[in-house]
Amino acid sequence: MSETGTTSSETDDGQSEQPSFDDDGTEPTQPAGPGSSQTVGAETDERTRAEWVEYDFEGDPKLAVEDLDVYYGDDHALQGVSMDIPEESVTALIGPSGCGKSTFLRCLNRMNDRIKAAEIDGSVELDGEEIYQDRVDLVELRKRVGMVFQAPNPFPKSIRDNIAYGPRKHGDLRTGLVARLLGRDDAEEEDALVERSLKQAAIWDEVEDRLDDNALGLSGGQQQRLCIARCLAVGPEVILMDEPASALDPIATSKIEDLIEELSEDYTVVVVTHNMQQAARISDQTAVFLTGGELVEYDDTDKIFENPESQRVEDYITGKFG
């Protein structure tokens, strides 16, 4: 099972004062102001223990992360994180802003490769296969590990085109002019795929009659479910969600939460959230990241929320800081 690489965070006060990058890796934020010196003291006194991040479960891990370090230039955004993510479950990543949870998430399908300043060190295995090695097919990786972003980002195309975009580009659907002329048109398969994906994302009833309308005309919550449907259409095994409901109102949020729970029956869902109640409601296991890009505790969601080992995690969950 897993083992933390850097178990000890030899932290001093200087570490907590150094600016760290926000989730998108661009905005430096001040983790703790001088007003919260007491909690900062409490936070830095404690040493992280290896057993806190050991989480035992049955079966092989879907994703196994070992000693993952990420640097944005001089900034050490993620410090030796190791964790195993079980299959067909919801794993929640929680923690204050700038603690590296989004960075961690983006490492799982190598979206951090798109940030030039990011330097990634360590190992991530998908079904026992290392994704950080040469000759890894990013197209295949991202087909298997899909992603949903914080802000809904549908393409300025029709709802149907949004869903069919991925499969068309991967050549799974042939709908071009040549295919149509040769009679090898996959229009029926496309219709079936669009319907299946939209139904899975619980949005079919709302958009059934207007599949050819522009997706930007949908409401924010509908757009986010459309983005989930678009991700499902590619046929992923793992779905990464980066605060998928933080830009939505409570009703849309609850729809997304229900959807996540349904999806966990067939998919491995990893979800970053700021909302601790949300993590408690939807996740099977929870990982807590704290300031400095350090994974402090990872266990069953009930265990984390009811009886955490770490004092810092308890303080964070009960709202004493963060």
């Binding site: 798109r114 980002n153 300025p156 975009y165 991967h170 991700c231």
Partner: protein, 553 residues
């Protein structure tokens, strides 16, 4: 304490305080300000009308000399402004004046009085070389007044005095019939025909600004009203100038352009073909619309029934089409490389700077390059192809610049979303980024086409051979047809290496040939050029609407 008393209390406090939420009675001030604005606007409008000679200054309308009337309006505005200023000192203070006019007022009035003082000293008072001293004294005086006095006084007194003085000079005829001024350092003689409109426009704008501030009651509201008037006047002036330009060309060119148009409907042979079996010709007759527009359907020559510019129209259309075909793929490709692939840094900065420089390069330089480089390599003759290449390279920088801007404005979320679905970079660019950037690219092409369609210099050097072509060259000969030998199919022959004319050059040729007998031909050519450019715009705007609609609906 009951609710009723509370309300009364509040009411009383508000009406008692001068700067309460509900201001005091301002109808009198607004009426005075409105009348003064109207007087200034009349002077300003009159200034434009006299400048354009619609109503010359020296004429008399209904017994009043135009100059006297407009100058009187200005003087009225000035006097009224000063009266408001005096009134606010004496006992009826304005709403919410600031304690000082501020830097802008100081600069405007200082400069205005510097100029006015200098002019007065130099000409009517005849102080000769003393004028800089007088100018400085008046300028500093006005600046000091605007800076040190409360706003309502500091604005109205120096401003009103200047307006009154200028209006008075015009109204009393001091600057009027018989007045001339020949400054020694200026080779032209200033006459009332130009001096009076210039005074009316400049001082009228100043008066409008001041009186609008009176109307708004000084302070923030006054400045808002003043700025509103200035911005409105600028916009109106610009639109009026555009309208004037277009209507000028249309009015002068429409008659000669449409001269001799004939059309009608008659019965005639619509089509005919040879029946092989019967060995006879079958002729099908039907109604035919007959339309003849000599100016745009004929060339220029002795044998044609009328002189026209058909060859030049054909040349311009071919020229623009060729240049766009060359520049758009190259430019968009370069922009995609620079924005999506190249690492942003010194290299892209250098390319960007060079591109901007190329866009500002004078067209005659491009023309000379084309003459020295393309013409010897393309049959050593002036040709349409050389013109298309030169104008295509002229258009290229603008296409690169605008395409880059619109590619940069495509949100990164689209690229992220596509990458997260495992779609490769090129597929993303092709299916998401470029469609989203398309409206911006087309806007750039529209702007560029407007410039190259009107270029004369490069065409003159690389494309034309005769100034007044009789017939348009045949660039495409024949269509697709079957022939008797292998490969049994023949396509149209495209021959672009022929000299051709184009509309701007045609206009230039008419002008250099002497305008006396050709003036109507020139205006008609200008109008046709305007219409051709407009129709290119129409195509561009229609395609922009099409692409934008694809993104939003």
């Amino acid at each position: 304490m009951s609710l009723g008393t509370e309300t009364t209390d509040t009411d009383r406090t508000e009406s008692d305080r001068g700067d309460g939420l509900v201001g005091g009675d301002s109808s009198g001030r607004e009426l005075a300000g409105g009348l003064l604005v109207a007087a200034s606007a009349a002077a300003l409008l009159g200034g434009f009308l006299t400048l354009l000679m619609f109503v010359p200054v020296s004429t008399t309308v209904m017994g009043v000399r135009v100059g006297t009337f407009l100058g009187g309006m200005l003087a009225l505005a000035g006097a009224g402004t000063m009266a408001v200023g005096v009134a606010s000192v004496v006992g009826a203070p304005a709403d919410r004046p600031r304690h000082s006019g501020g830097l802008v007022d100081a600069a405007v009035f200082g400069l205005a009085w510097f100029v006015a003082g200098g002019l007065l000293a130099a000409y009517p008072l005849g102080l000769g070389t003393l004028w800089p001293a007088v100018a400085l004294v008046t300028g500093i005086g006005a600046t000091a007044l605007a800076l040190l006095a409360r706003e309502d006084v500091g604005v109205t007194l120096p401003g009103g005095a200047l307006v009154l003085l200028s209006g008075g000079l015009v109204a009393t005829g001091v600057v009027g019939p018989g007045w001339t001024w020949s400054p020694s350092s200026f080779s032209a003689t200033v006459t009332p025909t130009t001096a009076v409109p210039v005074i009316l426009i400049v001082v009228g704008l100043l008066a409008g600004w001041i009186t609008a501030r009176i109307y708004g009651g000084f302070g923030a509201k006054g400045r808002q009203a003043g700025a509103y008037l200035l911005v409105g006047a600028t916009a109106a002036g610009m639109l009026a100038f555009l309208g004037l330009l277009v209507s000028f060309i249309v009015v002068r060119g429409f008659g000669p352009m449409t001269d001799g148009i004939e059309f009608g409907l008659f019965w005639g042979p619509v089509t005919w073909f040879h029946l092989p079996v019967l060995d006879e010709w079958l002729i099908i007759e039907g109604p035919i619309v007959w339309f003849y527009w000599p100016f745009v359907m004929e060339g220029y020559g002795l044998t044609t029934p009328a002189n026209g510019i058909y060859p030049a129209i054909v040349g311009t259309v071919w020229l623009v089409a060729g240049a766009v075909t060359l520049a758009v793929p190259l430019g968009v490709g370069a922009a995609v490389f620079l924005t999506e692939y190249a690492e942003q840094g010194r290299f892209t900065f250098l390319v960007e700077t060079a591109t901007n420089g190329l866009w500002s390069t004078p067209s005659i330089v491009y023309g000379l390059f084309g003459l020295a480089f393309f013409v010897p390599r393309l049959g050593n003759t002036n040709s349409l192809l050389a013109g298309q290449l030169v104008l295509g390279f002229m258009l290229l920088p603008l296409v690169v610049i605008t395409s880059r801007e619109s590619l940069k404005s495509v949100p990164d979320e689209y690229r992220d979303a596509s990458a997260a679905l495992g779609v490769s970079k090129w597929e993303t660019i092709k299916s998401v980024v470029l469609p989203a950037a398309m409206p911006g690219v087309i806007t750039g092409v529209i702007l560029g086409v407007g410039r190259i369609a009107g270029e004369t210099a490069p065409i003159l050097l690389v494309m034309v051979s005769e100034p007044f072509p009789t017939e348009a060259p045949t660039f495409v000969d024949g269509g697709f047809r079957f022939i008797g030998s292998a490969p049994f199919v023949a396509g149209p022959e495209l021959d672009l290496v022929q000299s051709s004319s184009a509309l701007p050059y045609q206009l230039y040729a008419v002008i250099t040939a002497g305008l006396q007998e050709n003036i109507e031909f020139a205006w008609a050519t200008a109008l046709v050029l305007l219409l051709v450019v407009m129709s290119f715009y129409a195509i561009g705007i229609a395609s922009r609407i099409y692409f934008r609609r694809k993104l939003t609906a």
